[in-house]
């Protein structure tokens, strides 16, 4: 049976990197006695995959990992067992069985919601004029190349609150758009120096597409 877990990563645990988070979960599964399935072969590993890496220093209340079980366990029991041996800061929020035809979290994720706070009070009222530009061209660096691209189509939604900005951004295997990239462009537009360490990024949820709509990855499975 395939299971999707939603979890949060908050407080000082935002400094735990993606690979370390994965290792944390592997050990957590063992401590909690979750009947997780292992791969075959000489060095078997747990069948577990994460939706989308979270940057070091970013918090989240909407992370996802899919696992496969060999035995059965109810959502309530699993959540209790996981809570009993979790570190404060990583909380497992749901534990749901996936339908057989569901794609895994990593291949279904299409968008991410972010809340962005600031430590240096930029003028956020300018964000709407920034977004009203015809295109928002940034220099995107990958391991192999540097390209000028227009990221405006990848900003699906935004909302400016008093001291923070909410963004819904394209993510996944193509055109993955990080909030830092958008903010870098915004700061350039404002004409001020950009330092990503001054942002307070919190991921709110990960979403997939269902017909015309975005739905949360958490809406796919069912409690058991």
């Amino acid at each position: 049976m395939r299971i999707r877990m939603k979890f949060s990563k908050r407080g000082s645990l935002k400094y735990i990197g993606h690979l370390d988070t994965m290792r944390y979960f592997q050990k957590l599964m063992r401590r909690a006695g979750i009947p997780i399935a292992y791969s075959n072969g000489m060095s078997p590993h747990q069948i577990m995959s994460f939706a989308l890496p979270l940057g070091i220093g970013d918090e989240s209340v909407g992370e996802y990992a899919d696992i496969e079980l060999t035995g059965s366990v109810s959502s309530t029991d699993a959540l209790a067992a996981l809570a009993a041996c979790s570190a404060p800061g990583i909380e497992i929020l749901s534990f749901k069985a996936l339908p057989d035809d569901a794609k895994n979290a990593m291949s279904s994720v299409e968008a991410a919601d972010y809340e962005i706070g600031f430590t240096n009070d930029p003028d956020l009222s300018a964000f709407s004029t920034f977004f009203a530009q015809n295109e928002i061209v940034v220099l995107k660096k990958t391991k192999k190349s540097e390209n000028m691209i227009d990221i405006k189509p990848f900003i699906f939604q935004y909302r400016v609150a008093e001291d923070r900005i909410f963004l819904r951004l394209k993510c996944g295997s193509v055109n993955n758009t990080k909030p830092e990239l958008v903010m870098d462009a915004f700061y350039q537009y404002l004409g001020i120096d950009f330092d990503e360490n001054l942002l307070k990024i919190k991921r709110l949820d990960l979403l997939t597409v269902n017909g015309q709509d975005f739905i949360s990855l958490n809406d796919i499975g069912l409690e058991i």
Binding site: I16, R23, M42, G57, C85, A87, N197
Partner: protein, 620 residues
């Protein structure tokens, strides 16, 4: 949770998870006035420090006391070091994130000499006076322990106390004494240190005076108070089954060097290799009960979720119940999908069979530590491993499918000649040749891979070689070049790879290992001029050290290139490890004549460690 470092800093530094604490099984306590706060420091980065078994045992042991809260401290890496110096941020302990300066004790474990500048960094960043003599009642009591405390003299001025021996037996008395002094309401640092100095295994260096003669050697070493002991006898934990152990290992977020549960199966070593300090200072050999180990293994794995367990000891093959233990672990591991790692196994039929069961032989390599190439040289160092043993083990392994062999050697051993050096490449070649003889062409998957590494021999206190002269850097490098050249001349040179390091670090290690109190000036100078993380190749710089010797007028040659006469007073002679000086002298003599000494299981050689009243000495 409140963190000592700001978001800004944590986002700037490499691997911020080193500094946040909060791991699974880390211990948090409610503070109260009566609580003794103990900062337990491993003076290297988190990933190294968290991998150290001894420090974890002490952490578990101290926290078992309700009136003690022991927390962890590691060296900030150079990036954070710089920020902390610039912004004057005090060094903090991981659990509470409180400044170390607020603690009652700062305990520093001393595992290798090259961490000494890191010790100074810890004191400096904590805002504690460098010298014991300058500290006042508000400063934590700075106490050192671990193998380097067996010659504490080069760092004696920086410590208030040293704990000499195994931590399990004496900390209660020390903490009780501290509590009495603290609760009396009129704590006087010197009074406390003086009283502490009378406890078994505790050395209070500032109450001891040294005198040196015209030839710079020690002429006297004695306490300034009559009621302090002239010799400090090491503390030994004779019953390991009763001793505190880790049942809830802290689970680091970062991938640390030893990301696994560690089971200490025994302490000490029966072998008596003459270069090996651990083999002498941890005498006599004491085993943990096999059933006890089974329970500990289960507890540690269940409580941590680790997917690997490793056996720890100086020579696991000598543990008497090894087959039972390994069989149990293999069965348990099979159910729980735990990997087993078995370092320090001698290669023989049993170990090959076990290795075949626990690991993928295509990925694993065989490890031999002959330490020397020729039989003559191995007799000198009393390494009871013959060329026959090695070839037999390697041959069996080749037939069993192994194709990779690692060999460890030392260069610069006492009495070494070029012929002994030449024997190293010859041995490597023999092993390669054996592979090609045993494995028919059509069954080979490429070449056999032989990796030989050599380190430079550094004489250590409390070994039979404590009197020996150490080679000069030029000699070392010449020898390494000689061996390297000869490796290339071998018929099977293309199957052999040879590695060696620069000798500068070995020289420094040699100076500090057998150093005396005069070296504290050198250490301080080197630290203040940029020496830090000297154990790391990427951060080791020779210049501050060279300058430090010049500026302080201390001649390194005195410490390393000089053979000591056996009637010289050595800086560490005031420590009694049970093994007698006479025994070490006898061994030194035998070494020079190439005469070997049997191991403790076969025959007791009367080393003196029987005074502790247990262990192998009474198993005959």
């Amino acid at each position: 949770m409140h963190l000592a470092l700001t978001d800004q800093i944590l986002k700037e530094v490499e691997k911020p998870a080193r500094y946040i604490g909060g791991e699974i099984n880390a211990i948090h306590k409610e503070l109260c006035d009566a609580m003794i706060r103990f900062a337990m420091c491993f003076p290297d980065i988190y990933e190294i420090g968290m991998s150290h078994l001894g420090a974890q045992i002490i952490y578990a042991m101290l926290n078992e006391r309700e009136d003690v809260w022991c927390e962890r401290v590691y060296s900030p890496w150079t990036d954070l070091h710089k920020i902390m110096k610039e912004q004057k941020i005090p060094l903090f302990a991981l659990e509470s994130q409180d400044p170390v300066k607020d603690f009652d004790f700062l305990g520093i474990t001393l595992q290798y000499e090259m961490c000494y500048t890191n010790v100074l960094q810890i004191l400096d960043l904590s805002g504690i006076s460098m010298f014991s003599a300058d500290r006042n009642n508000d400063d934590p009591v700075v106490i050192g322990g671990g193998p380097c405390a067996y010659n504490p003299e080069p760092i004696a001025d920086f410590f208030d106390l040293f704990y000499i021996g195994e931590a399990e037996t004496g900390y209660d008395a020390l903490l009780d004494l501290y509590k009495t002094h603290k609760m009396s309401g009129k704590f006087d640092r010197n009074e406390f240190l003086h009283e502490a100095g009378k406890l078994p295994g505790i050395y209070a260096p500032k109450f001891y005076q040294t005198h040196y003669g015209a030839d710079h050697t020690l002429t006297s070493f004695k306490p300034i108070y009559e009621d302090l002991p002239h010799t400090i006898k090491k503390a030994v934990c004779m019953d390991l089954n009763d001793a505190p152990y880790i049942t809830k290992p802290i689970v680091p977020y970062l991938k640390v060097t030893q990301d696994r549960a560690t089971l200490e199966i025994q302490r000490g070593c029966i072998r008596g290799c003459r270069f090996c300090q651990a083999g002498m200072i941890y005498r006599p050999v004491r085993e943990r009960d096999e059933k006890k180990l089974e329970t500990l293994a289960r507890e540690m794995l269940e409580n941590s979720g680790h997917e690997e367990i490793s056996l720890s000891s100086l020579s696991s093959s000598d543990y008497s119940a090894l087959p039972e233990l390994v069989n149990y672990l293999i069965e348990y591991a099979g159910e729980q999908r735990v990997n087993i790692s078995l370092p320090s196994l001698r290669i023989d039929a049993f170990s090959l069979d076990v290795m075949r069961r626990v690991q993928d032989i295509r990925k694993s390599s065989l490890t031999f530590a002959p330490e020397a190439g020729s039989q003559r040289m191995r007799n000198v160092i009393n390494k009871g491993l013959t060329q026959e043993d090695i070839l037999k083990g390697a041959g069996d392994a080749f037939l069993g499918g192994w194709t990779r062999v690692k060999l460890y050697f030392m260069l610069g051993l006492p009495t070494e000649t070029d012929e002994d050096l030449l024997a190293i490449p010859l041995l490597c070649n023999e092993i390669a040749k054996l592979y090609y003889e045993l494995i028919p062409k059509e069954q080979r998957k490429g070449r056999v891979q032989i990796v030989a590494s050599s380190s430079f021999f550094v004489p250590k206190p409390f070994t039979p070689f404590q009197w020996a002269a150490m080679d000069k850097r030029e000699d070392f490098l010449r020898k390494a070049a000689f061996v390297n050249h000869a490796m290339h001349e071998q018929l099977n040179a293309r199957s052999i790879k040879y590695n060696w390091h620069d000798a500068s670090v070995s020289e420094l290690e040699g100076i500090l290992a057998r150093g005396d109190r005069r070296l504290s000036a050198v250490l301080l100078y080197a630290y203040e001029h940029g020496a830090l993380f000297d154990a790391w190749t990427e951060t080791f710089h020779k210049e501050p050290w060279d300058e430090a010797f010049l500026k302080t007028g201390i001649d390194p040659a005195y410490y390393i290139h000089r053979e000591r006469s056996t009637d010289e007073i050595l800086p560490w002679d005031f420590i009694d490890i049970g093994v007698t000086r006479e025994y070490l002298m006898r061994e030194w003599e035998k070494a020079q004549n190439g005469v070997t000494t049997p191991n403790c299981r076969d025959h007791c050689n009367g080393c003196g460690a029987a005074v502790f009243g247990g262990g192998i000495c009474y198993a005959h």
